[in-house]
Subunit: 272 residues, 2 copies
Amino acid sequence: MKKYRLAFIGMGPGGADWITPAAWQQIAAADYIYASARLQDTVEDALPAFSGFFSLGTKERTWRIFNGRLTTLVEPILDDLERGNVVVLCTGDTGIFSIASWLNRVISERLPQQPIDWLPGISSLQYLSAKLKRSWQNLRIISLHGREPEDLDEVFRSKEPLGIFTDPHHSPHWLATQLIEAGRGEAQMSCGYSLTYPEEEIVTGSVRSFLTSPEEETRLCLVIVSEKTSVEEQTPSPWEKGFAGGMPDHAFQRGNRPMTKSVIRSRLASLL
Amino acid sequence: MKKYRLAFIGMGPGGADWITPAAWQQIAAADYIYASARLQDTVEDALPAFSGFFSLGTKERTWRIFNGRLTTLVEPILDDLERGNVVVLCTGDTGIFSIASWLNRVISERLPQQPIDWLPGISSLQYLSAKLKRSWQNLRIISLHGREPEDLDEVFRSKEPLGIFTDPHHSPHWLATQLIEAGRGEAQMSCGYSLTYPEEEIVTGSVRSFLTSPEEETRLCLVIVSEKTSVEEQTPSPWEKGFAGGMPDHAFQRGNRPMTKSVIRSRLASLL
């Protein structure tokens, strides 16, 4: 009996340049592609160029667009596996708060002999860390996407550096409120919005400075928080040395309370 | 004054299929490429195909092969930046125990105005996690590459799941010895050797079972350790359900002491 394959593919933060050749190959060879509308756009825009590279000709592909509840995916995936190879496009990496874990468990319970592959992708955590020129191996990584971990208060009160996946309600503004309450108002916070997309924006300032950001944040957003000293020890950012052009951020500091020029800049720009 | 760019590029575990298009573009556009001999081979073997894709023509590139001490790289990089764009190829991801951190600090001290980019890559930690169909966000990540963290005893005694970058001396055998001493002999341990290369091997068994592995391990190796229950809860592996063909590993278990069939298999194969 012929067995078709199922693959969960880590697609990186969004931009086509961050999708690995291994992922492109699997996508191009798939019969059924499960994806969000956002990832479908990314792939369809870029696939022609990559198809030429992988010499894949004019294979027909069926898109299955999903948005929201994972439970609705299970039966269609099982059906499609009767007739062809299935890939499920996952945001970021398959190993970090990914839909791959839940779907893998449910589908392998239903179809124990089904071969399943996971393909790793670049996590937005890695991308934002690279933009900030810092390492992430010491970050405590948490997700507030649609839920709050039980030990969240303890996490906020600890002085651990944090990598935080947010959602519209758990916005940078909400985070700032919680962290100030936990006594970390002067820690350094970097927010990456719409990472790898043309409208990408990265804002760094004190936790306190994000009180001026919107209460709800509908853009995809990732946050890194660390006590200021540890970031400085690790890698001084160019703007901390005052050579990024214009007045350096530290020229705006009063004692321990920076006025977070970069945040003000971005707020002003958004009003133009 | 014309400024050339310096980029640190995360190259993934090794195989060309795991190098992002963004990385290929930067490599192909570089004038000077700093790399280990191993990464030079990877790139030179694959670049012709990717060059066609990126339409880069016949640009001349100078390779600077390094092996060992980072301090010897600083002066040559500063020299080369006078004449062209420089990239430094880094194993894995730039954000996890990478040479990018140290080099970035030293070079930005010497040349404060130098533009520097970091490009994230797939870490072997992500690749091995994907192969094991598990998430890694809860792993405590440590590196034993050429050094031991100060709190290593405490780390081993805790029941935290671990992701461990090894070196020839800190081999799976050495780790097993330490972990048994810390009371974790029955935890589950997975070792990935030469990941993404044709000779890739992944072995899973109890910590105790790795006492039969060589005391020194010269292959590139990454280890994931977790208490057995937590792995099972997360994602039951196909062979734990006994449908991988042949006799399932659990058929070899006696009480709490598995005989680690997969390890025995791999040892036997290595003797053929």
